[in-house]
Amino acid sequence: MDHFPTNWGRPRNDLNDAYNTYPLHQRPYNGPKDTFADGVQRTQQPIVTGTSVLAIKYKDGVMMAADTLASYGSLARFKDIQRLHPVGSHTVLGAGGDMSDFQYIQTSLDTLLIEEEITQNDGHSLGPSEIHEYLKFLMYGRRSKFDPLWNSIIVGGVKDGRSFLGYVDLLGVTYEAKTLATGYGAYIAQPLLRDAVEEREGQENSITEEEARKILETSMRVLFYRDARSLNKYQVATITAAGISISESQHLSTEWSFAEGIRGYGAQTQ
């Protein structure tokens, strides 16, 4: 019921409007107005961020590693955040960048999964390449609205005996490779991962689970030494034909005695 008599219009006239069809049912709007509706500001920067994610293909599938830190600027704000997220039964996402955007992506993929996989129950399931494709359009769509989801994401998984490793970021850029790294890891760890894999040129499929784990651990250690937004606690996800497993967070051993000998920083008297 519209309680504003001024909006009721003129009384109906049987001569020219026998069935009360005019004026059309449209009246002035008296509800609350959003004063700032045309002053929208989009995301300009990430707030709570995660750093690098590393991933390689190996003999049985894909292995992925990420530390458990969510930083607030340069502050190590949350030290036990899981940045590796399973999607369905064949895929794991690893994300760097804004953690709230990543949580949004997790929720929207969960809805997608219920719609496309759970309720259909037709024997088809979403694999890593489908999830990657979906994220590609999601991320590109959002950046085209000048409102990007501020993440770089690695999608890894195994389905139908084929392993998949792909990257997608806030611009909608995608690529696939045998080794992938996001963020600072793209500069520091990617060369190490490539070295380790290229050593086996033509026989990448021979890297065992143990070797893969070793390669990732070494790279995570180097990253912890070099990346000021990283943490010495990390998780490893393995995706194989047998399924997904994401490890508990594990500690990186580090060696700092060499620091004694460093000269040139701080207040040494030489």
Binding site: T111, T119, N121
Partner: protein, 246 residues
């Protein structure tokens, strides 16, 4: 029915002088013509079973499912017009997804209530007809197993055992004999299969497919079809029991 040709049954928006809405009662007739659907709520889960009458030998086995999945933990069986039931299932999915977005995994009750409101709206207008379908909706949420039945009138009551369709009277009789607080979900599967076979009238319809889904500990609290080996065993035991019975 003496009320026929009195003119009070032409619209869902018209009462008869003694306070009935005939269109809703006709909708219930549509439900009564369909194959039986039952559901059993036991201490740790819910089991659904449906007698799906096979209308043609040309149909692919497993076509036209009458038990649908609404959310990870919610399922729905329908009795009545299949097309109306599928529309209700689609609506239930929308409601569940909407509730999930706002409040997290929805309770069965909240989805059944919303579905009841939706069905009720179709009893108010002359431009629509009420759903010719009863929806038995159940699942396992934070409060444990739950089971509701939404009828064409829009009411949604909670049950320990629900039945709709042709054989509902006999099925309800059988359901009343069960001890819901003592049965396990697995035992309930055997009971459900037995009741559907018992209720099926060989004289009238030749062929039917048994369809069963469940949720509970053994299904990892996911609403899924009953696994093949258990299904076959329950189906066989039900057939055997019936033969000894005759």
């Amino acid at each position: 029915m003496s009320s026929i040709a009195t003119g009070y049954d032409l619209s869902a928006s018209t009462y008869s002088p003694d306070g009935r809405v005939f269109q809703v009662e006709y909708a219930n007739k549509a439900v009564e013509n369909s194959g039986t659907a039952i559901a059993i709520r036991v201490k740790d889960g819910v089991v659904f079973a449906v007698e799906k009458v096979v209308t043609s030998k040309l149909l692919v086995p497993g076509a036209n499912r009458r038990i649908q999945i609404i959310d990870r933990h919610i399922g729905m069986a329908m009795a009545g017009f299949l097309a109306d039931g599928r529309h209700l299932a689609a609506r239930a999915r929308d409601e569940a997804s909407n509730l999930r977005e706002l409040y997290g995994p929805p309770t069965i009750r909240s989805v059944a209530d919303r579905l009841g409101l939706y069905a009720q709206a179709y009893t108010l207008y002359s431009s629509v007809r009420p759903f010719g379908c009863s929806a038995i909706i159940g699942g396992y949420d934070k409060d444990g197993p739950a089971l509701y039945c939404v009828e064409p009138s829009g009411v949604s009551y909670g049950y320990n055992g629900a039945a709709a369709g042709k054989g509902r009277t006999l099925a309800k009789n059988e359901l009343e004999k069960l001890k819901f607080s003592e049965l396990s979900t697995r035992e309930a599967v055997y009971e459900a299969a037995r009741i559907i076979h018992l209720v099926h009238d060989d004289a009238k319809e030749k062929d039917f497919e048994l369809e069963m889904s469940w949720i509970g500990q053994e299904s990892n609290f996911r609403f899924v079809p009953v696994p093949d080996d258990l299904f076959k065993d329950a189906d066989q035991k039900a057939r055997d029991a019936l033969e000894n019975f005759d």
